[in-house]
Symmetry: C2
Subunit: 436 residues, 2 copies
Amino acid sequence: MGSNEQKGSFQKAARWHPPAYDVRVEMIPIPSIVHPDDAIVKVKYTAVCGSDLHIYRGHGTTVNAHTMGHEFIGEIITLGESFRSDVVDRPALYSTLRVGDKVVSPFTTNCGECHVCRLGYTGRCTAGLLFGCDALDGGQAQYVRVPKAGSTLFSLSKPTWNSTLSGPERAKALAGLNDSSLLLLADILPTGVFAAIQATSHPKVLPMINGLPWPYALNPDQASDLEKQVLTPEDRLLVFAIVGLGPVGICAAVSLLDVLARRQLPYKIVAIDPLEARREKMKAVYDKIGSDGKGQGEFAVASIDEAKALVQTLTGGVGCTAVLEIVGNNSAISLAYDLVRAFGAIVSVGVHGEPSVPFTGRQLYNKNVSFDFGRCPARAMFPPAFDLLVKRQDVFGGVGEPTSLIDRIISLDDAPEAYKKFDKGEWGKVILDPWK
Amino acid sequence: MGSNEQKGSFQKAARWHPPAYDVRVEMIPIPSIVHPDDAIVKVKYTAVCGSDLHIYRGHGTTVNAHTMGHEFIGEIITLGESFRSDVVDRPALYSTLRVGDKVVSPFTTNCGECHVCRLGYTGRCTAGLLFGCDALDGGQAQYVRVPKAGSTLFSLSKPTWNSTLSGPERAKALAGLNDSSLLLLADILPTGVFAAIQATSHPKVLPMINGLPWPYALNPDQASDLEKQVLTPEDRLLVFAIVGLGPVGICAAVSLLDVLARRQLPYKIVAIDPLEARREKMKAVYDKIGSDGKGQGEFAVASIDEAKALVQTLTGGVGCTAVLEIVGNNSAISLAYDLVRAFGAIVSVGVHGEPSVPFTGRQLYNKNVSFDFGRCPARAMFPPAFDLLVKRQDVFGGVGEPTSLIDRIISLDDAPEAYKKFDKGEWGKVILDPWK
């Protein structure tokens, strides 16, 4: 156990105040251990996420002032009693954390002990909390308290997770990753991977992937020679649309391309955003990715206005096999509906708000639409996201380049300005350095 | 080719007239071949389906008078030119039909030549039509014209479809099936099987089935020993709710039980309907099924009022792994939402209408809900439905018994009364005999 090196003293934090559009940098007490499962993390970097804007704008469900932010990396400076080596009733993961460990945190806590966590649905742990709301102060500060730390934090100092890399490869990779790149693991890269994995494993998409008509695509061992001869190569073409090319949308595109390349699946992708700057970044990212990361297919970017006609042309009027919706509003999900084929899948990882979804039952029935809504289980998605981060350092490694997801690294003192400019679309994603 | 044995003469048909609640038995011309792909079928039996009530009540999209009905079996009396043995440019299925064949038709036509049909999504063939609306006269008549007959009709005289039964077993089974039982293949049994297959193959359900946490459940070969040890036997328990115990709901329950029994998966099922008579029928059906058709699990029926508390108790507050929604209105789909767990799946095969679906985006995001909406691709689902029909003759074979899905066989002349009583819930499913 370490002792809190600055116990009783104060720290800087970017705090939201109700009702809206009010983030202030304030001095507040450094957090201390409240529960034996807690860790205190000294924050190295923290980033502003698109979903922080829901809270910033007062559209969230939080009502009281709190520290913002759910993306952070740092170093463990204090651990609760549960981490003592003589404590044996905590999950095995508790034994992997030590004071001094470099850690990345998923954007929600999760207990690691409940049915929901064991299933891998860690983002909906019944004891889980989202960082950066009034139930749990966030990471846009110099220090942050992490509840259920043993099953929430990933130690980058002692990697234990499943990886396609060998141990030495992983260690070497970790040594080469800069901190701004690792910060992507907190939310946006796992969320992009989550969207891509759902879209490429959906039952409605399996006929293209397995080359068998539905329902045999679900149970290939039940197919006879008859079913194996039905689909033409053209039938198996996967056509995806990605609605929203913010940082998560670009992560989803890179992940989707990687899955398609690894599995050697032919594809067409239409990546859509109303903002030209985002479309240009998406194009630059696509151009930078080597053939190992994009396989054999066509990739186009389109404005909202262009998207429908382009999908019509590319698919002969049929529509997309699946649409990845990475925005979280009714315009985006309506566009997804218009673009998807009958018997297609809409994967929505955007954070949706209070409005009712804009569909009649008949519309959904008549198109045989499937939806997957909701939050990424970031803890569970960490392993594939890490492997992709290592593989695609050409895209994820930089800051401030045309292909970078992070536009700039600024002082935490500038958080109020960063929120204002991010809210207006004048700035892209920024990292806040609490020590700069 | 046969000639139309009664060309130019008239037949009886049950016809809907706008605006609503007006079905009349009328004499209309016997249909004749309009397109070379057509067949004319002499109807043996035709049934009234719950979704006929949408049209009956004027809630459908049809505006002109037409012959009702999308469930029928019969005998081919005339075939178009495409079925001549010297015609080689039609799909192979065209060569399987002969005049005199006993046939069952799925409730929609499908061309068998388009991308959508090849994928197995036959219910949304772009050239497909629903029988019994103003675009295509239905089967509640003495004769019916079947467009795209080669890829729509199943010949029971010359079975060619994939089956778990051997050729001789299938021939023997076919000889033993009565016509009222075969009529279930037109819609309600495939639709029930469709619901059960979707619910048991959904990616959100796979962790329970494969015994691996998400996302490894999607790609078991990527799991290490670490992931293989995470789930407890209790975690793998599948808990399903079925909302709506009309004839399709009972078919879905029987199909779901069969899948679970065959795969030896432990389960709890809560089958829900507001009507006591339907709950009693569901209970009687469950009791009649042998252990080969229900495996190891718990099965309860519940009223709407009882359902939520029961699911809470059975699942320790977590909710259902998946909910099968077999009604098609907002009450049913709201109940499904309330019953499903976070990261659960709602499979909706009910025919939904004009109202907007009753969910905010936040509700869907916050529960990580997945939906599968829409119409059964009945042609594609015929093979597994047929195997289940043969296997479960104990349930599907009878008429008018406590376990029967068909309450009675009446004359087509009584169609107006049948619609009135079915609409009011006074009668269950009836077969109309056009020759009685």
